[in-house]
Amino acid sequence: MSMEVLTILQVIWSLASYLVMTLALPALLLYRKIKHLRFCERFIAYQMVGNFYMMNLVSVLELLHISNRVTLTLLTILPCAGIYVILYKKKPMQMLQDVFEFLERLAGGQVGTRLFLRRVRVGIWHLFKRGVCALFRRIRSNFFDIILISLLTAGLCYVYGTNLLQHFGYCESDLPVHNYWVNYLGKNKMFVAGIYPFGFHCVIYYLHEVFAIPTYVLLRVFCFVQNLMIHYVLLAFIKYCCKSKFAPYVGVYVYVFLKVFGENTYIRYFSTLPQEFGMIFILPSIYYLFAFFVSKKQKPKNREEERAPLTIDNIAQTQEERAAFGEENSGWIDEELPPLSEESIIRIEEDGIVKTQVRNDVDGSAEQNLQEGDAEGEAENRTRLQRWNEARTARKEARVQKRRIARRMGQGRWARITGSEGFWYLAGFAISFGMTLSAHFYDTMIAGLLCIGVACGYFFRLFRPKYFGKVMLAGILSIFVAILPMLIAFAMGTPLQGSLGWGMKVISGENNKEVVQVAPVKEQGSANIGTGAAGNGMDAAGDGQQAGQPQDGAETMSDGSFVVHQKSLPEKVISKLETAVGAFWEAMKIYIILDSYPLFQILLVGSIVFLALLSLIFFLVRQTDYGARCLSLSAGLVALSVLQASSRLGLPTLMDAIRTCIFYAYVLVAAWSLCVDGVLQLLFGWFKKKWILHTVSLAVLAAVVVYSDQEGLIRTPPVRESLQTNEAILCLTNILHDNEDFTWTICSANDELRMGEDYGYHHEVHTFLRDLEKKGRTHSVTIPTSKVYFFIEKIPIMYGRAYRGDEPEISEEFAKEPLPVSAGISMYQGVNRLIEMSKLYEWAQDFAELYPNDVKVYYESDNFVCYCVEQDLYRPFNFAIERKD
């Protein structure tokens, strides 16, 4: 089998496993309870529940040291079965009894085999027929959506999948560390290298353990799965925010297919990293906040409705609520209400919710409206009103009775709390926000900043004492739940992991010494940006305020001293603003959108302003939730902009700009979609027929596609070179396939150490060579496994940059150099790696000459060779041979 086919199969298996846990299983349990929600909302809910369960199940079992395939599988199946039984009021014992009775009848001959087989056949046929019908119904009703999502998926496969088939190794240097941590979860050693957010590792470990996918395979290919999810969640979020059907695709299309964004905004998508995994949960947390506030808009009205005498308005409002929950029975409304005549109802759509109002053309009073109608219609409506009132009173009494009983049983308050929509939205917020922290601290920071944006957008609802407390409590609880495993481990004496300590220092401002990356094209006003030759991504402190340079407003005198001119307050404010805008502009040009695309640069800044303006307009036209969403995103982007430019503004650098830009671009496309949607809503949203709005949005999408194609903006799949050779992965895969576990050793640079840790042994090249040089003079150097594989790069990997064809090859000259004495990864970088590989190659040649029949070339290409030494364990080779020369 070719590696390419194998990789595709591995991707499919990983995707299927992940979707089982984050889509199929949650859907099986929750679908009937939340089917009134739109698909995008349900999708987000399934994602959150599935991931949350995996993360926390693994965490709990790890802390109890009983995590293994059996416990994980059992504790997945049993609770799911339990929840299913409770939620859907199933009677398992009765079902079992029925099954046994049927089997008894089958065994006793009361039911013949033919009849049984016929029933099975008919049952399967009906199931299949129903399934196919349902599928076709869905396809028919969401035809364009399905087409567009399919195209998006195909595009994602093309853009982010191609690299997987070209570069099989890890693309980031920290992946071996994550591999190491996941491996140790298998040994029930959580936080093996110190306390660190382990949500991502728990999910990977869960998939590895339950679905038998090797960890190193997951870390190679799971990036594609999480990319799909990141983009689907983005689409789902925009879908929720927008009113038109197809405007959301505009943003996602731009994000996936256009080459306007800087490389840094997407290059990490080619690696399975916790930060990128955590991005799945950022927008859902914002979605839940939006949904919570939307539900709180309706809540007071519901209360008033209970108190106020029933009028036609109230009836219309209730109808509106029903519509908001979808066409089918929501689960919270138990009985069908008597229908109103179509003529007396106006349907309008706001905030993605279809609202219904009774016609109220003259003075807003339904009663008056009724009076103006003909006598027959009036009598009919009054009869209906009476029936409505009776039904409502009966329902209210039943509810009161139910509460009373529940209170007696001590469950009243809890049932009231959990029975409300708001509770579940806040729970969703807590779960998703918590998972950002479980996955990666940076995700929490971004989610937090976007929450600040939501606070700005929903200021009119958030700061009500009732809601503020609940939201804050949810936030605190989410953080508590996320850090609880870490707290427990900390209490048990586990120290913080190094990078977490570093993060703490960053937050406390102790670690702000970074270098500013210079803009490719310097503009006036940004000339004083520092000139440090930055590594790829190190952002800077200091806004050009280097030692010996005059500060803002200072003038240099002839003797070199500075004279500071005092400025007035407005001048200072204007100056600061100019600096801020300049800094942001600079950061944006470097990291987010390249200079080659000035239109998109303007769109970036413009969208922030435009969203703010749109929000004002929508507030004015009483579409408050929509306006709040626009304002939230706008404010969120401003907050992100500050973070992006923080180093240039002299603020504490909480996050490198190179990382911020990933999130920035991710949120930006949502803002662009919302801008398009806002404009369309202003122009076409007032039409009663919504298909006009949807058609125009589809036309806009088509226009964007055509425009981008004509302008040559569509990108080719980016290439991300891996930090391992493909040949090394090929050999490792074959070694795992060919040999029994722990009968082999790979001697290579450190890359394969963690990849094969669960299956065999690893010996570092540096250690091996050092042993040959020092220990080998007096002692034997042996590797006690029946097979020893030596991975030698003839053209050593240059860490941190792609192959360019001018890389030096290993040679005898390099082999004669002394062994590098540096520690850590540096001994495998640059010339050091060249020396190590040259020395190993020379040694292998000598050894093969001594043992021609025992040293085999396992694989060889132009830039790589793998030697296999087969040895009898009763007579292991002494690898410390004397050099021939």
Partner: protein
Amino acid sequence: MVSRRNFFSITLIMLVVVFMFLVPEVIKNQVNNYGQNRYEESANTKFTDKSVYTATKTDGIKSGRFVVYIGDDRDGAVGSMVSQWCLYSKRRLLSFKSLRKYQAEPKNLPEAILIDAAYLDFDKELSVLAAYAKVGVNLIFCNLPDVKDVSRNPKLRKMLGINAIIDERIKVEGIRLMDGFLLGGLKEYILDETMEKTQQDLDLVMPWYRISGGAKMFVHGMMEDEVMEEYYMMPDGDVITKNQNLPAIIWRNKYEDAMVFAVNGDYLSTNAGIGFLSAMMTEIKDYDIYPIINAQNMVVLNFPDLAEENESEIMERYSRSLKAVCRDVIWPGLVSVAQQNAYKMTCMLMPQMEYQNEPEGDTLIYYMKLFQEQKAEAGFSGTHREDMDVSEKLDEDLELLDEVVPDYSLLSLYQGNMSDEELEEALKRKEFSKVQTVFTDYDGAQKLVSYLGDGIVRQTGICDGYSHKFSENLRMVSIQTALGYSNIQVDLEPVAFPDSDEDSWEKLSRKFAGNTRTYWRQFSKFEKTTLSESNQHIRRFLALDYQQQREGNKLTLDISNFEEEAWFILRTHGEGIKQAMGAEFVKIEESAYLITATEPRVQLELEEERGRYYYFEKEKQP
């Protein structure tokens, strides 16, 4: 009352049943051609002693199979073994009693120089050996000089890859033979609780040489951890350190451009050493293909006894007569072992031993029929009582045979305790005119298979069926490696005339069955033959010559003096046979194949035995 109809039916059924049981027996008796030797025709061959191939100088140059021996090739020890090995492996041998006498031709360098240490002047001739090593001539030290000589000769130590001499005389617990050297895999010759002490008959006292890095050990001594700890600071359970430093017995070192083999002991001083030499040649090359006999015999000696002899003793032990013991006890046991292991028996008839009671001709016929059914072959045993004249014995026995089975051709004869002269005289008898094989007991100094003259092949027993000491096993494994040949001999004379309780059949049969099933299992791929069939194999083997060449993964074998079939062993280092033309092949073990050539030209396509399962798409593209 039974009705007539029922009576008729019952009678009919009974007749049918009687018919069904009787007819097969009658047919079997009629068809059973016990009076004829079935192998007389089928095991026939045109090759005689004149057909034996001996490599000439030209052959040696052409085939590249040419070795030089420094020592006496007629000394009955190492030299005999070397000359025997060269005969069997179709090599040209040049033998010199001193290295100085050998003048190498630069264009015709030998594959290896085999050295008997006793014939080498280590002070003067070591540099000559070093010069040969420099030009790529491999060196095989069939034995080593005295440890003191080794100790004071650093050049020799370097050549041999001896890192240190830990002790001049150490007694090891056992010996370990590494996997992949001889056929049959890993062997550990060390006593455990279940074994008798007599099982260990190997020479366990030796100098303790520790080999250096770059050398490769094939056989080494085994020692207990406590003994090792006296010499090394060995951490608990550090098996690796231990194995590295154990006393080396057979190893090879890379010296200059040559492989230097060393044998610390007398393992190459008998004809059992031929397998070691074959294994060494395999180690030197990328692959090795060489002819073999491919015959596994089970020879039952002195069976059956057709007269009532040693009655009181036998009655006491078995509560029945000797004839009954042979028929009811011994024969079923023999058949059971033969069938379980798919052997064909060759039974050497000994109608009587004491000549006091007349042997029964009917009993002989009975056994001849059984032999025929079991595809066994009858030979004649020359074993006789010491106080009896051989010619008298032969007269008596042959008279019986002539009377009972006059047409049966005796093709094999067991020498027993006949002297060579007596054997020569016996072979002149007309009853033995068709004898093609003389079977003798094992003698380490003699050739394993050879012509006695007059077109008669001499085959020797390799192992005793009742005993399988460590040295016997090592000998068997070695000969299997070199020739794919083995003879298990089972002597039933001690059962008829026991000296002690140890000679009772229940004990002997247990050993015989156990040994056969255990130690020959790894060689089950070789052909099971009677002596006549193996005689045919040997004649073909001794007559043939072959040339082989390899291009890429295609190996071509041209066989001369080919008759119907020839057998070869192909030994590789991780390669296997993908397909064969003009031959059939079967895998004996990892990297070892038995090739049965059915045509004089054989083409083999080789491939990696364990190729990579995963590959890159681009690798598939041409």
